[in-house]
């Protein structure tokens, strides 16, 4: 009798799961142009505004700190550390925000257009998770140890962000006009990290 009840419960549970899955709405295809444009914008902001190598090097460059320590009194070092912490936290916040925008796009819309293989999708999911965790860890470290206390996490974060951008670039490639693509292929890179 108990066994029968157990089987009945499992059966009802499975039916409920099936019903929930059937009710789940997919991403609407119509009117999703805005999401593509927003994802493209997020990608551009990451590639050109937040992840260029020279910008990251400049924000976390220890030479500046050494110079300030040697150049002036303690208040200036304090001001410098305060300012650099503010800028680095702003950088983390902006990267996190744009990564979340890209993640939303990948969760909802990219599958409609991009032919991503299962391993690519798994890798992408892992990179998104890693990135969001790295952002959180970086914020804690920057708050606790200042702008120079999280060099390794910055490296991990920029590498993962580079991979996510490369994958997103493929998903959004169809938005690039062919003429621009050929121009891009023929021109040299502008020093961006990705």
């Amino acid at each position: 009798m108990i066994g029968l009840l157990l089987y009945l419960l499992v059966g009802i549970g499975l039916l409920v799961v099936l019903w929930l899955l059937a009710r789940r709405e997919g991403a609407p295809v119509e009117g999703c142009g805005r999401q593509f444009v927003e994802a493209r914008q997020a990608l551009r902001t990451l590639q050109l505004g937040l992840l260029p190598e020279n910008l990251i090097v400049r924000i976390f460059d220890r030479e500046d700190f050494r110079y300030v320590m040697a150049a002036g009194p303690g208040e200036i070092s304090e001001l410098f550390l305060q300012e650099r912490k503010r800028i680095s936290l702003m950088w983390v916040r902006r990267v996190r925000c744009e990564i979340r925008n890209l993640m939303q796009f990948h969760l909802g819309y990219s599958r409609l257009h991009a032919k991503l293989s299962l391993p690519t999708e798994i890798r992408l999911a892992l990179d998104f998770t890693l990135l969001l965790l790295a952002c959180r860890a970086l914020r804690i470290l920057l708050n606790a140890r200042g702008p120079y206390g999280a060099g390794a996490v910055v490296g991990v974060m920029t590498a993962a962000a580079g991979r996510v951008c490369a994958a997103s670039e493929k998903s959004l490639a169809f938005l690039n006009p062919p003429a621009l693509e050929s121009f891009r292929r023929n021109s040299a890179g502008d020093g961006a990290a990705i």
Binding site: T45, L48, G49, L50, N54, L55, R58, I59, D61, E63, D64, Y67, V68, A71, G72, P73, E75, I76, L79, F80, E83, R84, R86, I87, M90, W91, R94
Partner: protein, 158 residues
């Protein structure tokens, strides 16, 4: 055909601008402030009379905008030490009393209106932040200098 010709005009105008006008300004900060001053605050368009006569207003505008962005990017890439040096050189070129200059710059932050259009806010915040620290360094150097006649004349504040 008109689009490539226009692009060539812009390149030629930018080259002309670099050779004739900007060559005198060795520091990116000086170039940035000069180029920002050629921009109309109401329209966002750049204007340079000589360049517009030689090429066209549109080509001159684009050339000025391109050089403005270039100067800003150089400033973003500059180390704090370089920035302090640039600021010191600029301060000396203005022939304003150093203390007045620093007080004005710390209060008015005139560099905030010198940012080209389309620059990411993080880059501009980094430059503003570095300039703030650079001004504090210059101020501390100024304070450390022995003031001639300071012992003879009382400060008006006292």
């Amino acid at each position: 055909m008109s689009a490539p010709a226009k692009h060539m005009d812009v390149l030629a105008a930018a080259d002309d601008l670099r050779r004739r006008t900007l060559v005198e300004m060795t520091q990116p900060l000086e170039r940035l402030l000069y180029l920002a001053s050629t921009r109309d605050y109401n329209t966002g368009l750049y204007y340079h009379h000589g360049l517009a006569l030689r090429f066209s207003e549109e080509a001159a505008c684009e050339a000025l905008a391109g050089c403005h962005r270039e100067a800003f990017e150089e400033l973003v890439a500059a180390s704090l030490e370089e920035l302090v040096h640039e600021l010191q050189t600029y301060l000396e070129s203005t022939r304003v009393a150093p203390n007045d200059f620093i007080v004005a710059w710390q209060g008015l932050e005139p560099y905030r209106v010198a940012v080209p259009v389309g620059i990411d806010s993080l880059s501009s915040e980094l430059v503003f932040s570095n300039l703030k620290v650079a001004l504090a360094i210059l101020q501390s150097r100024l304070d450390a200098r022995p003031k001639p006649g300071a012992s003879r004349r009382p400060s008006p504040v006292q």
